[in-house]
Structures are given as C-alpha cells and as structure tokens.
Symmetry: C2
Subunit: 478 residues, 2 copies
Amino acid sequence: MANIEKKNKSITSRDEDFAQWYTDVCKKAELMDYYQTKGFIIYRPYGYAIWENIKNYLDEKFKATGHSNVYMPMVIPTSLFQKEKDHIEGFAPETLVATIGGNQEIQDPLIIRPTSECVFTDHFSHIISSYRDLPVKYNQWCSVVRWEKTTRPFLRGSEFLWQEGHTMHASEVEAREETLKMLEIYDSLGKDLLAIPFIKGRKTEKEKFAGAEETYSIEALMHDGKALQSGTSHYFGQGFAKAFDVKYLDKDGKIKNPYQTSWGASTRLIGAIIMVHGDDNGLVLPPFVAPIQTVIVPIQMAKEGVLAKCREIFTKLKEAGIRVKLDDSDKTPGWKFSEYEMKGVPLRIELGPRDLEKGVLTIVKRNDLSKETISIDNVVEEIKRLLDTVHHEMYQAAFKNLMNNITEVHSYEELKAVVNKGGYAKMMWCGDEECENKIKEDTNATSRCMPFDQTHFDDVCPVCGKKAKYVVYFAKAY
Amino acid sequence: MANIEKKNKSITSRDEDFAQWYTDVCKKAELMDYYQTKGFIIYRPYGYAIWENIKNYLDEKFKATGHSNVYMPMVIPTSLFQKEKDHIEGFAPETLVATIGGNQEIQDPLIIRPTSECVFTDHFSHIISSYRDLPVKYNQWCSVVRWEKTTRPFLRGSEFLWQEGHTMHASEVEAREETLKMLEIYDSLGKDLLAIPFIKGRKTEKEKFAGAEETYSIEALMHDGKALQSGTSHYFGQGFAKAFDVKYLDKDGKIKNPYQTSWGASTRLIGAIIMVHGDDNGLVLPPFVAPIQTVIVPIQMAKEGVLAKCREIFTKLKEAGIRVKLDDSDKTPGWKFSEYEMKGVPLRIELGPRDLEKGVLTIVKRNDLSKETISIDNVVEEIKRLLDTVHHEMYQAAFKNLMNNITEVHSYEELKAVVNKGGYAKMMWCGDEECENKIKEDTNATSRCMPFDQTHFDDVCPVCGKKAKYVVYFAKAY
C-alpha cells in the first residue's frame, strides 16, 4: 500500500553496482515500468515527457531542414522484406512475425517493422518518376520491434520509440551531405538539450547497418566507462533503389536510380541521460530536457503568507515559460527534497516564513546540490540564469569526463588495459575485420567509430603489426 | 513518368459516384497511398500534416485538463487479453496475432493491440494502491491494428492512428464526468478545427464498446447522407478494475475498486473532413486544420517586381503565424490553381503586374471560389479575417446540411424512406434490441446514438408498437 515508503528507500550506490543503480533509478524516478512480455516496457508519464522534449527539438530541426513527417504501415510482408539481401540477413534473427489475421493463416507472414527501409523504398518506387520529384525527404515517428535476448530499459528493448528519416536524392553528393547533416543535428541535440558531448565518426564495415554503404554514429560515454551508440545516419548509395526498382527520368533524358539515406535516434537517449548525469541521489536531468525544470517546496506551509507567495512565484515562472511545479501536498519538506532529487529536477526553490520576512528565497541546484539565496523580486531572471548555468556545468562535467577517458594506445596490451578499465582506446588500425574480431574476443570491446579527424599517430596496427590505415575508437559498449 | 498529367485529370463527380470520388480525392490530393497488405495505408505528408494539426489541438486540450501522455507496449499476450470476457469476444475476430519471435514459437501468442484497455488496466493494478494515487489520467498516441475485411482509406483500415485516453477515479461521479468532459473536447474539435457539427449522445446496448457500461459518441453526417462515428468516450464502471484486480485503500480504511473511462479519436476524422466538405474540384480544407492555409500564385512571374512582391507577402504572412506557401515553380498559373483547389487550400492569393501597379491583389476562397480584390498593404489582416470567414461559412454550410437531414419519423415506413434516402431518422424507440436488428436487416441502418435531449415526441415505437422509451437517431453509417 505505502508508495511513500517505497520511494524513500535509498537506491543502490552507483559505484557499487552500476547495473542495479541504473534499474533502481529507472523505476524509482518513475520513468518506466516492466511488462509481462520480456523486453517490452511501459513509458510512464515522467519518462515519456523526456521523450516528448527530445521529439519536439528534433522535429523542429527536421522540418526546418525541409523534411516532412509521414506514417508507414507497421507490418512488412516477408516477401517485401527479402528484397535487399544484406538487410534481411542482418534483421531476420530478431524479427517478430504475425502469422494469423482474423483467425486465418496469413499467406505472406507479416514482420512487425524492426526498421522501415523496405517500406519507404517500396513507396518511393511509386511516387518517384521524374527528377522533379527529387529530393524526397521524409521522417517518421513510431515504435519498432526487435526480438532481443538480453534487454534493459531504454537501452535495448524488444520495442522502442524512435524516429527514422528516409530520403532520396538525385546526386550522390547531395545524399552524402544529407547523411552528415543529420548526424550534425543529433550532435546539436547533445549540446543544446541533453548536455552530452558525443564522439562522432564513421562505423567500420563490420559495425555498419545491414544494407548500408556507410554508417555514421554519435557515441556517448557512460559513467561506468562503457560507450552508448546514441544515433546513426546511413548512406545507402543506390543499393536499395536498385533492389526496389526506384528510378526516374533525369533532365538529360536518361533513366537513373536515386541515392538514399536513412537516420534514426531513439528512446535510448533517455538511457544516455540517466547514465551520463545520474548520481547516488538518483536522476539528474539537464534543464532543457527536464519535464519539470523547477520545483517549489514551501517550508512551514501553514504559516501566513508562505503558500500565497509560493503560488505567486509559480505563476510568474509559468508565465515566463518555465516548466514549474509547486508541491503543496501535505508531505514533509524533507520527503519532497529527496523525491525531486530522485527525479532529477534541475532547480528547487525553498521558501519559508523567515525568507518571506527578508524577501528572499533559496535555490538548490540538483547537479551539485549547492545553494544560493536570492531576492524574490528577481526570481524569474535568476531561475533563467541558473537553468543556463546548470546546463553549462553539466555539459562541461560530461565533457571533462569524456576527455579524461580517451586514451591513445600504441600496443595491444595498452588497448586491453584501457577498454578493461573503461573508456575509449584511440588506436591506429589496419582496417582488417580480423583485428576487430580478435579484440572483441579478448576484451568484449568493439570499434565504436572512426572520427572525422584522421590525423595518424602510429604506423602499424598494434593488434596485427600490419600497416595502420585508420584512427578508430574501441570501447566496451551497451 | 508524367506526374503532372496524372494530377490534371479530373476526378469523378461527387454526385455521380461518391465512393469513387472519395478514393480519387484521397489519392489525387496526395493524402495517402495504398500498400501491398490490404487495409494498411501510407499516410503521405499532406495527409499526415492534417493529422498533426488535429493531434496538436487535442494534445493541448488533454494536457490542460490534467492528462499525461504515456506509451504502452504494442503487443498483448493472449492470456492478458482474455481477462475481460465481453472485451475479448468483441475483438477476437479481428485480431492480428504474432506467433514467432526470433525464429522461435511464442508460447502465449501476442495480439497486436487493437485497443489497450487490458494493458492500461494491468499497469494500473501495479501503480494504484492508495486513494492518494487517484485519479490517474493517461493518454496515448499510437497506431492500432484491427484485421478488417472491408477497408477504405481513413474510414476503416487494418491499421490506423489514434489517441486512446484511459483514466481511473475514486468515485463513479467523477468517472462519469470525465467520460462526458472528453466527449465535449471531441465536440469542440469539430467546432474549432474541423468545421464539422456533430450529433452527440449515448450508444445503445447493442452498439456500445465491448466491455463498457456506457459508450458515448459524436456522429458526423457525410455528403452522401451516411453517418460517420467520429469519436467515442466510454464509461466502464468497475468491470475491468475487478477483472484485473485494481484496488486501493480508501481514506475510510476500506479496500475498493476504482471507476474507469476510456476515449478515442482517430485518423477517421480525415475521412470526415473529406466527405463533409469536399466538392467536384477535390478537397476543401477548413482553415485551422489545413497544412497550407494560403497559397500565393504569381501571375506573369517573369515581369519585374512580381516575384519580389510575392516573396515580401510570403514573409509577412509567415511572420504573422499563417501557414503559407509561395509556388514559384515554372508551372502555369492555371495548373497551380487546379492543383491547390484539388488540395483544398482555403485561400489563394493571385498577384500579377497589373495588380502590382494598382497596389492590390486577388484572394480566392476555396469553399465557394469567390474572389475579392484587396490592398496589398492590408494583406495580413485580410487573410486573417478571411480564414475566420471561410471557417465560419464551412461550419454553417455543414450545420445547415445536418439540420436539413434530420427527420422525425413516426412510422416504420417513414423511417425506411428517410434512411434509404440518406440522413438521420429521429425516432422514439422501445429500447428493444430486436427492433434495432429488424431495422438493420430491412435497411442496413443502425442506431447512431441517443441524444442528451430526450424530449419524447411519440408514445410508441414505430417498429414494434410497444411503449417508446428513448429518442434515438438511425442512419446508414460508414
């Protein structure tokens, strides 16, 4: 019965058992709940509101760069899914398949979409016929299903929420530009909203998306030293276009295949926020993605004027566009403090009778629990300033942590030591998949990406001793 | 190859073949496209943008009335679905069932959600334990799947987009109030956005939702005289709560079951817009739901100053918050006129060299194709005024059509004549399902709803001659 007691129990310490700490935070901050089918979760209001803020940010950016939203069927007939060979090979083992509709067996069983390249490309083959129809730049917000063996809230689930962009272009140059432009938008999401610095780069052949020519990703570093792929952008060339017979009549009178991209980001980002910023008191939310940016906790609420002043402040902040909550429930201030700390609310306002006399209030910053006393009259300006400050401090802390955990390695022993300890090993690599396989076998680390800055710092690959070709980051990853 | 030619071909006349006219408009206004799996459609950018506007309106209303968005799993284990008997009976014949996951047979096959009462109620049983946890007021935006035999774009599909609200309350009174409050929000959507007047009322026992105690609906009248159920709100009492063991400790120390509601509106509303307002030139969109509210078509674009002035007007309108498009493509003005008429853009601005000299422009209203010449200087105010005017006129026209097609009937012959001709027959009914069945058999009409105003106008039911109890509307329906 007693929800209060459950909430007040402390969570596992972050450095003692990171995995347990993570699931504790997911549950106790009321971000999600489990469901009886493994890997499917319930996105509770507080968790879903974070996703809505991410969605609003990205949706605006997508529209500003000329993309239109569409909605495609969630089922893919097996025959349609099989048209691109690499793609089906990559996804077949983790598909959920519907075989019965209206109590009848379905002849061409329906795969519940794990991703929609096939559906989009098939549609493109119907709507593209002239160079005038290009580019086509679409995006879709939906959920996708991948039948995963090992699952974890937000990080790896059988169903997750995402957006998938799909575009077609007349020229290779334009399609390649699109691929990188969308990667930049994901990167800006980290800077502007999530307070997460990403490592950006190209995936190796081994790690690229099934059916893509090139895959680019943004990679975040979690508190435990593991990497988290947080968004991907793919350049497809003409592979799918040819497989699905998408062609158009160009200005020069010739029939051609267009060039394609796709790109996606998902509710995984919620996992990134938790694991980059969270601490032993629970969630710590960056201000611009936080569903509640400021909570007001009245002290000695029954004393004359306290609640009235809190309400006045609430209204002022709300009118200024700040997402504010006044907790005037009959719970104790102490309970409220720990509740909103657990939920990671960036700023807390405390106001009691003595503050009221002096015309001041206290603001507590969630990221470092530091306190400031400010004049009530300046509350709107001060809160705005502090939201910026908290965002900045959180980004800087994450950036510093990232920088401290990138190590250039020059020998295989060094590489093993770095990835086993946690963090990125930056290595010169021969480009051979065998070396990736060996590293994976020995350490469980994978190549995360090859950064855009390819300034060489070694001549040979430390794994095999052959000529080094690429700068690449290795790390253990979620 | 030639998209242009296809678009220019005229559509079927509305009064000649309404069904063909409807699908012509759906396709030629580029609202949707077909897919290879029957009943699944592609929501193209123009169609999806209409849904986004509906969604934004409703989402704001839901949040303003204290509802939070969540996201629930799209799969429902068969065992979970079977917990409420009436519910499973109602939905079983039209379910899509996944039986294979990761190449393995699934023990408890997964139903792709046709609606989520079971999932929400199961979750509620985990999060509700005290009176302090009530009310719980959730909403979800998602797609649902119902394996339909006869399908039609937007009206009846195997997959459609919708929102489903699910709430739990401590008292019956509060739950009943919620049910009606949400019906009012759907009604306001008609008034404010869709320019569609609805008939509101309660469904009969025969027509109510599977598992509900009471279902309320809004019903719109299409141009062909058929009704379209456009939104429903259900009061569940404690039926699901008991079946799923949702209970809480009340203030008085007693364990109780809460009272439940659910309510939904879907992409069907796009079908309603098409069939209420469309004409022989294509779609006619109410201004506040239209993705493009005003299109600017330059005349003799090459002449000095024309395009520059059009761009200036475009910027002014855009800055004023109007959804405006400037079509400066090299197609002829005539082609553009018919294209944006087909797409139902509420207002068209024409501006050529002679207008420029005089400092005027022409505005054409899509709903009646009337023209006005106005001063360029007043363009923002005039466009705003005309958007209001068009909305008002469209609502009034639809309202007049509705009023003209409601007929009080006093005999069974009259009822048959009215529903066969098209429109609503308003009848006094005994309350017996047998009479509904007889009407259905003889005319294919169904009871749409029992209006809130139950002023009796006959003593006996014209079908069976027994004592009349309820005022009810009968009509053929989609």
